[in-house]
Symmetry: C2
Subunit: 232 residues, 2 copies
């Protein structure tokens, strides 16, 4: 029987590459996405399209009201998403698009899903290089989280297989990520990365997320198959 | 200016005692509760009544769809809540009322709330003695979680005050908990502990949670001010 892995899927380049890797490694995939009050739903549609493309075992969408309730991020509250790479992002500070405790909450959900689906493997596409300066994308956070998750669950007390958090992209550049995804046939045409998509769902080409994506593809010598509002 | 603490409040004896302690220590309290598909809403009403009693700064109720979606616990799915203390509970195994990753998810929410409210203190009423055998109530889980939370947030990277997870009840017996709460004037008449309350909101007096509560009060020489369906 195939082993099951829980893959956090946002519909973006990184998580789609992650799903491609889990699939390539022979896991049955349960993909999970979060409706957390992000300003647009395009990425949720993208996550679903990617799940369908891979014929995953199950795709779960969770509504998480926390971040809308507490605010504090340009991704969920009325703070402008900056165009271009902001000073904070360039200097290693924490940008306004940081959502407090987001990966902590998302990974905690993944642990709950893994435990009830008999999965010992969780894949998350965090990245410590081209990572926008979010504290919860750092390798030391992921390592600590794995230790915590194993204490929080049945796995930790019954001597069962401990949970492993896979972060196959954590030390890759965006260019290396898209090279690997392309080699595995990841459906990048279905993905979405933009923080501020236009009404027709085309990407702005100007926000931090678009710029990171375009830079990665350019450095890998690839053309982005999705639509942009401005010439990329 | 008073420091703010985030207190996880379930409306039960333990979390109400925890809130009483945070209040007594001079914290401004933001209490948070979770609607996670527990079979009854009585405890959410109790949590709100306790918050009102203490005039907390803010009481936040979060709807968490995760546990209903994944099932696996008698508290959120169609598994019978056992009467009396089950074999698992007596032998140290994990009982059917365990909700996978619950405290991991709840504490993650608390971290998000703390970060956006400028709070460095979180109170949770977990207990390692009379604790029903849930892995996520163990001291080592809480310690690891605190380390993880500090890596997940701004506190961890900017040299700000690190988050502290307070577990003032963790090494107390239920009797010691209610003695301390009673000394602080905790409003136990507003609390609710039963897993299977009757339609009139009286407590069953037979589930594990009722039995633990009654045992603690009896050992402390106190009478329970709430209503029971059976003679306690």
């Amino acid at each position: 029987m195939k082993k099951t892995a829980v893959v956090l899927s946002s519909g973006g380049l990184d998580s789609t590459t992650c799903l491609a890797i889990a699939h390539d490694q022979g896991f049955e995939v349960v993909s999970i996405s979060f409706d957390y009050g992000q300003r647009h739903r395009t990425e949720l549609d993208a996550a679903k399209a990617v799940a369908t493309h891979y014929g995953v075992n199950k795709h779960l969408l969770f509504k998480v009201g926390l971040f809308e309730a507490i605010g504090g991020s340009a991704l969920t509250a009325d703070i402008d998403v900056p165009k271009g790479r902001s000073a904070d992002e360039m200097t290693g500070g924490i940008p306004v698009t940081y959502v407090p405790a987001r990966n902590l909450v998302f990974l905690s959900y993944a642990v709950g899903v893994a435990e009830t689906h008999g999965a010992s493997d969780i894949f998350i596409g965090v990245n410590a290089l081209d990572y926008s300066g979010y504290p919860d994308c750092r390798p030391e956070f992921i390592e600590q989280f794995a230790a915590t998750a194993n204490l929080a669950t049945k796995a930790g007390v019954e001597g069962e297989t401990p949970l492993t958090i896979h972060t196959p992209l954590i030390h890759l550049t965006k260019a290396q990520i898209v090279e690997q995804g392309t080699a595995l046939g990841a459906p990048y045409h279905l993905t979405h990365s933009c923080y501020s998509p236009l009404p027709d769902n085309s990407s702005c080409g100007e926000c931090d997320s678009c710029l990171l994506r375009l830079k990665g593809l350019r450095e890998a010598g690839l053309t982005d198959p999705i639509r942009y509002a401005v010439a990329a």
